[in-house]
């Protein structure tokens, strides 16, 4: 597999074409947050709305436009975190960030378990200019969770 093929793995292409969670809907749960993020280098954008119920992410919907990497990444993020606890979401976020900084090194089995389809983004690490694309949705989620004003004891437990 060439570096380019490693970057555009089939799972990423599939998510880019058939994105999950696309289309903003009213959020579920007691705490609702929304964030609009733009990648200043290319103008890609995502608006993401998250609903938190107790210590779980009850809903995540979004709209946006941009490259296949940025759009597929939000779609995969949707599948990964809806229904997850905030603790697991934060762990996944940290693991994804580490994956982006790994310069294309395949992650260990534990990380793969944690990230699921998001592991397919491993190839982005070889292209520093594209890391921001893959992180766009994750940055939006991070900010939306801050906006949702979830009590800190649930956020960091």
């Amino acid at each position: 597999m060439s570096a380019l093929e490693q970057m555009y793995q089939q799972v990423i292409m599939d998510h880019a074409k058939q994105a999950h969670g696309r289309g903003l809907e009213p959020a579920e749960g007691a705490h609702v947050g929304e964030s609009f993020q733009v990648n200043t280098t290319c103008g890609d954008e995502v608006r993401l709305r998250v609903g938190v119920d107790g210590d779980r992410i009850a809903s995540l919907t979004w709209e946006g436009q941009g490259c296949s990497i940025s759009q597929a990444s939000v779609s995969v993020l949707h599948d990964l975190v809806v229904g997850s606890t905030l603790t697991d979401t934060h762990a996944a976020e940290a693991a994804f960030l580490a994956l982006m900084q790994a310069r294309g090194e395949e992650p260990d089995a534990a990380t793969e378990d944690l990230l699921g389809d998001a592991t397919a983004f491993v190839g982005i690490g070889r292209y520093p200019a594209r890391i921001k694309c893959a992180l766009l949705g994750w940055m939006a989620l991070k900010d939306a969770l801050i906006q949702a004003d979830v009590p800190p004891e649930r956020r960091d437990s």
Binding site: S2, L4, M7, C42, G43, Q65, C67, I69, R130, C133
Partner: protein
């Protein structure tokens, strides 16, 4: 042909991604530098490094001579006198210098001489819908700052300025008309003579962004009759960190500065300051001396090639590029067709159906081809053309036909890489 000069550009000999020969088609963003420019910068530091205009010793003298010699070279390159060229950090800073100067004059800075620039409520500032953000935002801010109204000349579906609206948009209330000489997206070289003529009729100042034309076309700013013009060093084979503002002498000597400091003043009391004439009044503090010398060397290099030859070379490449791009199924060229015979720069911005520009750029990069992706700092124009962003291939003196053909061959494979059919749906 100009292609035998490629040996002058050390960076062109390096490899692109995956060890592929580098095909550099991003000169619209920044150009490569010939050894003559690199040498001029290095020589200054090696042999003549001294404080410009601030000493009586030999090195200070040589540094001042080189710095002012560079100014004269850049001035000559655009048909100006040396005192009509002000150094700025880049073209953006040069445009901001004019807008901020007018804003300052509107608040009484610059005394009686500055009053001719003062604007306020009821006055109008005119721009175009095709502007780079650097020649749009400063005017938005100036309008907000002074209470003046911002208006603009629209564009058609190919990005041509609607000059039919000129007499209506530029009128008795217009005080400033700011416009680009050519678009960095469509490549269209605008009929700026018509804009300047209309602005003169109503007594409005003209401010031209020449970033995309100074490196590629013969320019005679004095003959053109524009009041101010800005261009950058790094797009015309010179260094980064340096740009130039051209201005008509009587205007430059009346416009108040917007960066204040040493080496710019005639007299200073505890409450008042008067300024030196241009260019000194605008060059506060230590200047980017080596960069200015590099830009001077770039102007000499281009001047020796002959800008008529440069323009002819790039026009031919541009037509090859645009015809090639629009002939590919599923690819939309932005701006006039390559067969239109219109006066267009040697560049092509385009969109590939179903593939985002960032992804297009990535596949091209994999083949060693460097292009620009995004909105190229022209969001309003992209919005008007109905796309959020585009991919752009742009040429310069060192670009070859073979490179254009390599690029076109790779572009033909982009849709199939993303498993899209070769035929437009």
């Amino acid at each position: 042909m100009l292609t035998d000069l490629r040996a002058d550009f050390p960076a062109l000999a390096r490899e692109g991604r995956n060890g592929r020969p580098l095909v550099y088609l991003d000169s619209g963003a920044t150009s490569h530098k010939p050894a003559q420019v690199l040498q001029a910068e290095a020589d200054f530091y090696r042999f003549s490094n001294g404080a410009v205009g601030r000493g009586a010793h030999l090195l200070a003298e040589e540094a001042t001579e080189a710095f002012e010699g560079a100014r004269a070279a850049v001035a000559g390159f655009v048909g100006a006198g040396p005192d009509q060229i002000v150094w700025a950090e880049n073209a953006t800073a040069a445009l901001n210098l004019v807008a901020s100067g007018i804003g300052n004059a509107s608040q009484g800075v610059g005394g009686d001489a500055g009053k001719r620039f003062a604007i306020g409520e009821g006055d109008e500032i005119v721009v175009t819908e095709s502007e780079h953000h650097a020649n749009l935002i400063p005017w938005q801010i100036l309008a907000r700052r002074t209470g003046a109204t911002l208006r603009w000349i629209g564009v058609d579906d190919d990005g041509r300025l609607d000059l039919g609206s000129l007499a209506d948009v530029v009128g008795e209330r217009t005080r400033v008309v700011a416009f680009q000489h050519a678009s960095n997206v469509t490549g269209i070289i605008h009929d700026v003579e018509a804009i300047i003529a209309r602005a003169r009729e109503v007594g409005a100042l003209t401010v031209m962004d020449a970033c995309q034309t100074a490196p590629h076309l013969p320019l005679d700013l004095a003959a053109l009759g524009v009041d101010f013009a800005a261009f950058s060093g790094h797009k015309m084979l010179g260094p980064t960190g340096i740009g130039a503002l051209y201005g008509r002498t009587e205007l430059l000597n009346a416009l108040p500065p917007s960066v204040f400091g040493g080496s710019t003043v005639k007299t200073v009391t505890m409450t008042e300051t008067t300024w030196l004439d241009a260019p000194q009044r605008f060059e506060a503090g230590s200047q980017p001396v080596a960069q200015a010398i590099g830009m001077g060397a770039a102007a000499r290099y281009l001047g020796a090639l002959g800008m008529d030859r440069v323009a002819a070379h790039e026009r031919a490449l541009g037509e090859r590029l645009r015809r090639g791009v629009e002939a590919i199924d599923g690819v939309r060229l932005l701006g006039p067709s390559g067969t239109s015979g219109e006066n267009v720069l040697g560049l092509a911005a385009f969109v590939v159906d179903g593939v985002h520009p960032h992804d297009v750029g990535q596949v091209l990069d994999d083949a060693g081809i460097a292009v620009r992706v995004g909105h190229h700092c022209a969001q309003p124009l992209h919005r008007r053309l109905g796309v959020p962003s585009s991919t752009r291939a742009s040429t310069h003196v060192y670009t070859t036909e073979a490179e254009v053909d390599t690029f076109l061959a790779s572009l033909r494979g982009v849709r199939s890489f993303f498993r899209l059919s070769a035929v437009t749906a």
